[in-house]
Symmetry: C2
Subunit: 394 residues, 2 copies
C-alpha cells in the first residue's frame, strides 16, 4: 500500500525541532525528505543528550525515515548545488533566523525564479515580518511571550512552562498544514508560494478560551492548577496512593458520581445540586470530595468510576505510557531498528484507512545519502563527489 | 486573491473543540464548511461562557466563517437528508464518541457507498480502536493519561495541566493534516478514505524529548518547573517587579550575559565556565543569578539583554498579548464583526504569500444557512422546508 504523500519531495534545511518536526510528519506520510546538513557535525541536535550508543535519541526520533546529504551553503559551489536541487523538489523547508537564507542568496523571489512550482516554507520564532522578526527565539521565551505560561501553573503566582516544547511543535505542525494546503493550491494554479509560520503566532492561535474570556470580560485569566474555570468537580484529586483526574462534566454524571463515592445525599443538597451551585461553593465541595477520595487507592477509584463511565484517569508518567494498553493498541510507541539496536519513539497519530502512514526507517547518518542524491539525482561522478568532499563542500 | 483551499467542501458534524478547531483551520484556508447542528440548541458550546451579548465568545471564536444548518440525525428523514448532503461534499468530519455515528447508520463502509470520494475524518478521545475506544474523554483526562501532566509543573510532586486544552487542539490539528494528506492522495487515486485521529495519540506524539529520554535512560522525567533539563542558565527569574525568561543557549551567550549582569568574572570561574559545569553547579549558579536579577526591573533587564540579543522575554498575560507589537504586526489578534459588535479572536498562524488565509466572517447563527444549503444545494422548496421544520427535522 502506498502512503498519502507518495511522490512529494521535500528539501529540508531545518535544524533542531520546529522544522524537523514538520518534515517528520511529511516523511511519515510518505514524502521523500532529503535533509541538507552542514558537513561539519550536521544538525546541532545530533549532539543533544540522551544518547543511545553514539547517536542522539532525540535526533533519531525527530529525523526518522529522512535522508541526509551534506552541503556547505557558505561556498559558491555549495550554493550552485543547492540551486540544482531546488529545481527538482516540490517543497523547501527552512528554519533559519529570518534574513539568513536570503543573505545566502536565496530570497523568496530568487527561489521562485529557480523553481516557480516550489512551496517555500520558513518556520521561525517570530515570523518573517514585524519588529521582533530578527530576534533569537527558544521555546521557553515564546511560551512566556505568547501568554501560554500565564495560564499554566498551580496558582496565579506560578506561571509555568509546558513540559514539552510545544511552541516548536505547534509551529512545525502548522507549517505542515501550510505546505499541504499550498500543494492543493498548486494543483489548481500550477504555482508554488511562500508559507511563513512563526512559533509566537502558533502559540497565540492555540490559547483557546483564554482569549475569548479576556476579550469578553477584560480580566486576564491566571493559572488555576488542574481545575476547570467553570465546571465542578473537574480537577485532580489525591487518593490514598497517588493523584487522579476526575471530570464530572454535567449533572447526570454528578448524580452517578455522588453514589459512586458513597455520598448520594450530596446530589440533593442545594449547595451542590447543579453545576452553577457547585462552582459557587467550590471550596466546600473540594474539601468534602478530597476527604472521600483520599480513603481509597487510585486503582480502586478508577475501577469504580470506569464501570459507571465517569470520566476519570491516572496521571501517567512516561514509564506508564510505555505500558498503557490503549497506547499500545494504537501503536503510539514503536520500535525502530538502528545501528545501535532498537530505539523506541512515538508512532504516527494520524490513522489513514487506505494509505496508512508509518515510520519509513531509522534516522540517517550524516551524509548517508550523498551518493543517492548527488549521483542519482544530479548526475555527479565519483570523481566530482570526491573533489567536493575534499573541498569541504559536501 | 483566492485562498488555498478554495473549492473544498466540508460537512462538519463536530461539537465543542477538537473537531471544530480542525474545521476552523480548513475554513480560514478557504474551504466551504457547513456545520450540521441539532435543531434543539445546536453545538453545546453555544452555551459556554463567557458571553458577548447573547452569544458565546468561545463558540464565536472557534466557529468563525462557517455556515450552520440544523438537522435531526435521529429521524429517518434527517438521515436521508444527510445522505444527500454526503454525496455532494469532499470531506466529512465528526467527533462523536466511537460507535455513535455508525449506530446512526453511517459506518465507514456505508459512507464509502454513498460517496467513494469522501474523506471521512473522525476525531475522538481514544480513537476508533483499542480497549478504551468507547470511553468518554475530556481534555483534562487525556492530558493526565498521555504523560504530558507528568512532565509539566513546578516540581516532581505537582503534575500540572497545560492551561489551554491542547489535547483537543493537537487532535484537531492532526486531523486537519490528515484531511489535507488524504485530499492529496485522492488526487492520485480518485478515492477517499477514513482518517482516524485520537486526542491521546496526538498528545503522545508531542511529548518530544521525554520519550527519547525515558527510552534511553529508563528514568521517567518529572516536572522541573521552567528550567531546561540540560542547559543552564535557561529558566524563569524573579526581577524587582516581575518574572522574566532567560535562555542562555550556548557559551558565547554566557559570556555576553555575564557582562550584561555586571559579573564578568563568572565566565572564567571553573564552576561556570561551560554548560556542563553550569549544569553541575546549578544550585549555586541559580542563587547567584537570582540575587543579581532581582536588583532591577523586568523592563530594565529586557532592555539590556535585547540590545545584546541574549534570548529573553516577559511572561506576558493575555492582556499583554493584546498590546504586543509583534503580535499586532502579525495580525494574530483580529476583530470580527458580529451582531453584538466586534469580537476579538486569534488570527490565522499560517501566512501564505499568494493565497492568504483569513477569517471568512462571523460564526453563524443556528440554522442560518438552512435555505442556502437545503434549497440551494438540495433543491428543497419552501414548503418542504417548512414541513421539515414543523416536524423538528431541520
Amino acid at each position: 500500500m502506498s502512503k498519502p504523500l507518495e511522490g512529494i519531495s521535500v528539501l529540508d534545511l531545518t535544524r533542531v525541532l520546529a522544522g524537523p518536526f514538520c518534515t517528520m510528519l511529511l516523511c511519515d506520510m510518505g514524502a521523500n525528505v532529503v535533509k541538507v546538513e552542514r558537513p561539519e557535525g550536521g544538525d546541532d541536535s545530533r549532539s543533544f543528550s540522551p544518547f543511545v550508543g553514539d547517536d542522539s535519541a532525540y535526533f533519531m526520533s525527530i529525523n526518522r525515515g529522512k535522508k541526509s546529504i551534506t552541503l556547505n551553503l557558505k561556498t559558491v559551489e555549495g550554493k550552485k548545488l543547492l540551486e540544482r536541487l531546488i529545481e527538482r523538489f516540490d517543497v523547501l523547508v527552512e528554519n533559519f533566523r529570518p534574513g539568513v537564507f536570503e543573505r545566502l542568496g536565496f530570497s523568496a523571489q530568487r527561489l521562485r525564479e529557480i523553481n516557480p512550482r516550489l512551496i517555500y516554507t520558513c518556520s521561525s520564532g517570530f515570523g518573517h515580518s514585524g519588529p521582533m522578526s530578527h530576534r533569537t527565539a527558544y521555546d521557553l521565551i515564546i511560551q512566556g511571550l505568547s501568554g501560554m505560561m500565564s495560564i499554566t501553573g498551580p496558582d496565579e503566582n506560578s506561571p509555568t512552562k509546558v513540559g514539552s516544547s510545544i511552541a516548536d511543535i505547534f509551529c512545525g505542525t502548522f507549517a505542515c498544514i501550510g505546505i499541504l494546503a499550498a500543494l492543493h493550491s498548486r494543483n489548481l494554479t500550477g504555482k508554488g508560494q511562500k508559507v511563513d509560520v512563526a512559533m509566537l503566532d502558533s502559540m497565540v492561535s492555540v490559547l483557546e478560551n483564554a482569549i475569548a474570556r479576556y476579550a469578553a470580560t477584560g480580566e486576564p485569566p491566571v493559572p488555576i492548577g488542574n481545575r476547570h474555570p467553570s465546571i465542578a468537580p473537574f480537577a485532580s484529586f489525591k487518593t490514598l496512593d497517588g493523584i487522579i483526574n476526575i471530570a464530572v462534566g454535567n449533572d447526570v454524571l454528578w448524580e452517578k458520581f455522588c453514589k459512586a463515592i458513597g455520598r448520594p445525599e450530596m446530589c440533593d443538597d442545594p449547595k451542590f445540586v447543579n453545576n452553577p451551585a457547585r462552582v459557587r461553593n467550590l471550596e466546600e465541595l473540594m474539601e468534602i470530595l478530597g476527604g472521600e477520595l483520599e480513603k481509597r487507592t487510585s486503582d480502586e477509584w478508577l475501577g469504580v468510576f470506569g464501570k459507571l463511565d465517569i470520566p476519570s484517569g491516572k496521571i501517567n508518567n512516561i514509564a506508564d505510557i510505555f505500558e498503557d494498553e490503549q497506547i499500545r493498541a494504537r501503536e503510539m510507541i514503536v520500535e525502530v531498528p538502528h545501528r545501535c539496536g532498537n530505539v523506541k519513539m512515538p508512532g504516527v497519530p494520524i490513522k489513514f484507512s487506505d494509505t496508512p502512514a508509518s515510520i519509513a526507517g531509522p534516522a540517517p547518518l550524516l551524509g548517508e545519502h550523498n551518493r543517492e542524491v548527488y549521483a542519482g539525482m544530479l548526475g555527479l561522478s565519483d570523481l566530482e563527489m570526491e573533489e567536493l568532499k575534499r573541498k569541504g563542500i559536501i
